[in-house]
């Protein structure tokens, strides 16, 4: 029988899985694999500048293309650096296969150089993880890894590859089929339950759809839109569900939750049937659980049975893929009389529309509006913080547009690398990264990756010289104790400073010079009229990334805000 070296079977397996891009950072225990990849022309290896960013890049690639993101790192620090990225992907159900090198089997447990138990470290934050113990299992393990990552509720899979097994000769076979006795992802929909659920909708006076990220992952937005148009039931979304239905659709209300829109939070609090698909009712969505949708009977459709009745007790549970459920729902739908209910909702919208008060400096809302009208088919990627919430509030998502954001984990440093991954997967679409001055500097080194691959990502930094989201919480709920949030701070500043003043030292990172240091373009925007020219210049820079630093008001806030533990109706509006 034909024999192959482990590394050769590894590359063969990637090709059989249709992998054309690998995010890889070399090191001692994976040099053999990189040597094999060197000989293979059909797989592009992207070299990031840090392994955390590597995972976010594969994550952005996977979210934007729907393909499995493939990561390859070395043992020890290489593997340990992936932890935050893996957790980020896990919480947002992103399909990744992360291969880590490992010291040879006979050295494991000896505290060998660059030995860490990465499977132990990631056990609680990945969908599945295992260390290869036999060369003969290599093909099967890789096959299963891809299968587990992309099916059911998708998620990251970690496979640890001891160096000695990768250079060992063994079977050349890559299996065609998968059969894992403990893993049978749910298929189909229980039609009886579904009819019961829809029966509730027809009887409801104030029905409401709550759409989570599951609908976007299933790429079932068109089915949802058709359902809503035929039934006339209004829709609220979670941050991860935003864009499942066009945001300018007349039956779309907005995001709900901690920074949700007034009308959306009111609608969910007043509705009598809440029909939810693909959400896990996180605390940022529900706020005080006992007050959440307390007038409503709740239907919950989710692919993950463990998500059902975990946080919210539901009346009708249905375990199903969002796409399959919506396709089945379309067979039984009918028009609901929601005219009066929509009137009430429109009243709330008119009462408290979203909008930022004009402030000093550049208004983030204006920047996002410029992005809305300029980039039709595009991918917008955010980091985490105030700019992220403004983006989820003001970004318009219509057909062909996508928003990538770290929703579950809220990982600062996600934005730039994820935007790079998205651009690699979608070279023909504009990719705009919206970041803050804090998060941007958590993975700033990826500017080098973007420059190396000539990726024209437009990076908008909303710079207010603060870790603004925390500053805002301190302002509202901690007696304005601005503890460790000022990024202008220097030795000599009053540690109990009560906010910005004319005595503040200058902001220390010059993002324009920093861009230039990376051989990229940098533009600073301090006035509203500079927004359009800056973007025009950035769009002309097609050979690499452009940083546009927007100097925004230091005291800008995200409104509405619901304090943790308070009911959703308890919104601070301004």
């Amino acid at each position: 029988m034909k024999q192959l070296k482990g590394t050769s079977l590894f590359v063969k397996a990637l090709k059989e899985e249709g992998v054309d891009t690998v995010f890889g950072y070399p090191g001692g225990m994976v040099t053999d694999i990189f040597d094999e990849l060197y000989k293979e022309d059909g797989i592009e290896v992207i070299l990031p500048r840090h392994e955390q960013a590597l995972i976010h890049e594969a994550d952005g690639y996977a979210r934007s293309t729907g393909k499995v993101g493939v990561c390859l790192v070395t043992s020890g620090p290489g593997a340990a650096n992936t932890v935050t990225g893996i957790a980020t992907a896990y919480y947002d159900s992103v399909p990744l296969v992360c291969f880590s090198g490992q010291v040879p089997l006979h050295l494991i447990g000896n505290d060998a150089f660059q030995e860490v138990d990465i499977i132990g470290m990631t056990r609680g934050i990945c969908k599945f993880g295992m260390i290869l113990k036999n060369r003969e299992d290599l093909g099967r393990v890789i096959k299963e890894a891809f299968y587990i990552a992309r099916t059911g509720k998708p998620g990251p899979v970690v496979i640890d590859l001891p160096k000695n097994l990768m250079v060992e000769m063994g079977s050349a076979e890559y299996p065609k089929e998968v059969n894992i006795r403990g893993y049978k992802p749910s298929t189909g929909v229980h039609i009886g339950q579904l009819k019961k659920a829809m029966g509730l909708l027809w009887k409801a006076k104030k029905p409401l759809m709550l759409i989570g990220g599951g609908v976007n992952i299933a790429r079932a937005g068109a089915l949802l839109t058709q359902f809503v148009e035929e039934t006339k039931i209004p829709v609220v979304t979670t941050i991860m569900g935003k864009g499942a239905i066009d945001t300018d659709h007349p039956y779309y209300i907005g995001n709900l939750g901690m920074h949700g829109e007034y009308a959306a939070n009111m609608a969910v609090s007043e509705c009598d049937v809440l029909y939810s698909i693909g959400t896990r009712f996180s605390d940022r969505v529900t706020s005080k659980i006992s007050e959440f949708a307390k007038n409503a009977q709740i239907v919950h459709i989710d692919i993950d049975s463990a998500a059902i009745s975990k946080n919210i007790k539901v009346d009708i549970p249905i375990v199903a893929d969002a796409g399959e459920a919506l396709a089945a729902m379309l067979k039984y739908n009918k028009r609901c009389d929601t005219d009066e209910w929509m009137e009430i909702i429109r009243g709330w919208k008119a009462e408290h529309p979203l909008g930022m008060k004009p402030a000093r400096g550049v208004c983030p809302e204006t920047v996002i509006e410029y992005i809305n009208k300029t980039f039709k088919e595009s991918i917008v990627v955010t980091d985490v913080g105030q700019h992220q919430m403004w983006t989820t509030q003001y970004l318009e998502l219509t057909k062909g547009k996508q928003l990538l954001t770290s929703g579950g984990m809220g990982t600062m440093g996600y934005g730039l690398p994820a935007a790079i991954g998205a651009k690699l997967g979608n070279p023909d679409k504009p990719v705009i990264c919206i970041s803050g001055d804090g998060g941007m500097q958590m993975n700033i080194q990826e500017m080098a990756t973007a420059v190396a691959h000539e990726l024209p990502v437009i990076i908008c930094i909303m710079n207010n010289g603060y870790l603004g989201m925390v500053r805002q919480i301190q302002e509202l709920f901690y007696s304005r104790h601005y503890s460790s949030v000022c990024t202008c701070w220097r030795k000599g500043c009053d540690t109990k400073c009560g906010g910005p003043s004319s005595k503040c030292p200058p902001y220390s990172t010059d993002f324009v010079k920093l861009a230039e240091a990376y051989d990229a373009m940098g533009i600073r925007v301090e006035k509203e009229e500079e927004i359009a020219p800056a973007f025009e210049k950035a769009m002309q820079n097609t050979k690499g990334p452009t940083i546009i630093e927007f100097i925004i008001d230091r005291k800008d806030m995200v409104y509405p805000i619901v304090q943790g533990g308070k009911p959703l109706t308890d919104m601070i509006l301004e």
Binding site: G120, R123, G124, M130, I131, R181, G182, Y183, A306
Partner: protein
């Protein structure tokens, strides 16, 4: 809150015990007892798990276990007739003759076996439900100062005649 029992069929490879035990600690489930051993099929292990929880948490525990790739099957023993026992060893220091005789009488009453002894110590082995073992321990603790207890955790299997 009450005590409940689950049986798990799991893959028999390294890391599975850590996965299951880690799930309980990560999610702050109240794990009371966990035993594991290979089955008649060497690729499959079976765990017997005792948890203390309310109804909603118990449902969640079963679902979380079910979604582990390594878990082949979850059986809720709540309403299934089962045989369940725990292995208990108690070493009792009893230098006085009358104390040793008292221990022998207690052992007989509880169906425990005297498996080792010298003139100063007696070692009992008791295979009973964990509640009955609790009672035996309580009784001996109340009457003897110097004792040593090792418990194995419960194992359980579905009943044949009472199904």
């Amino acid at each position: 809150m009450k005590k409940r029992w689950i049986s798990l069929y799991v893959e028999n490879y390294s890391g599975v015990l850590a996965k299951v035990a880690g799930l309980f600690s990560a999610k702050a489930y109240n794990l009371d007892s966990l035993t594991v051993g290979a089955t008649e099929d060497p690729t499959v292990s079976r765990m017997t798990i005792g948890v203390i929880s309310d109804d909603a948490t118990f449902e969640q525990i079963k679902k979380q276990l079910n979604r582990c790739v390594e878990v082949i099957k979850v059986i809720d023993f709540t309403s299934i007739p089962i045989h369940r026992n725990e292995l208990l060893y108690i070493k009792v220091a009893c230098p006085a003759k009358e104390d040793r005789e008292e221990i022998f009488r207690i052992a007989q009453a509880f169906g425990a076996a005297v498996i080792d002894c010298d003139m100063e110590n007696v070692l009992l082995q008791c295979v009973q439900t964990e509640q009955r073992n609790d009672s035996l321990i309580a009784l001996i603790r109340d009457n003897f100062k110097d004792i040593e207890v090792v418990r194995g955790g419960s194992v359980a299997i579905e009943s044949i005649s009472m199904m």
